[in-house]
Symmetry: C2
């Protein structure tokens, strides 16, 4: 992967964002720096950055794909009203950290990742 102004800008924007933006949101933000960048370039770079492990995709119930530039360990809080995903960073007590941020937890869901029976 060669260095490019456009890809650097996409990665920088994503790392500075804490709202898990979609491709078109990233496009609008990168455009402020590089006005003539195209949406196709943003999509292509997001794909490459994902393949190389610099960014990840956030699981969502949206039809659009949401991206995550912060790879440090943290927790997601989904608001049932505005559907925004808030990042929560804490080393120890999760419920305390959430309450301290003014987040009113109603439920929690744990998803497990690994290899299934037939893929092992």
């Amino acid at each position: 992967m060669r260095s490019s102004k456009q890809r650097d800008a996409v990665l920088q924007v994503l790392r500075e964002s804490c709202d898990h933006p979609t491709a078109d949101m990233i496009f609008e933000r990168v455009r402020e720096q590089i006005p003539n960048i195209s949406l196709g370039t943003v999509y292509r770079n997001l794909g490459q950055l994902k393949d190389e492990g610099f960014i990840t995709i956030v699981e969502s119930s949206d039809t659009k794909v949401h991206y995550e530039g912060n790879l440090t360990d943290h927790i997601h809080f989904l608001c049932k009203s505005c559907h925004n995903i808030t990042d929560v960073f804490c080393e120890t007590q999760v419920p305390t950290a959430l309450t301290d941020m003014g987040l009113q937890v109603e439920s929690a869901k744990t998803v497990y990742y690994g290899l299934c029976n037939s893929c092992r």
Copy 2:
């Protein structure tokens, strides 16, 4: 919401499925019972069933929306290789239940739901 043959079939198919199908997968399955059903009707009914709380959307990193017809409390296991989502039902020990099903857990992620500061 009035009763309809098409909506009943969509709900029945989804309740019988354990693979969190997409709209087009549901369409194909309902077609076996109602060959002339249209894809638009499937989408419209999925939207209504979701609004009324009969079904939910599974969060995924796919571009297609995945639906869930089983509202009883259970856990999701995502295979990193084949990307299938396995339902795990257990009352007590989660790790034991996963191992018993031949699922090799590598990591887990907990997501919290509720109301954020500004929506409260």
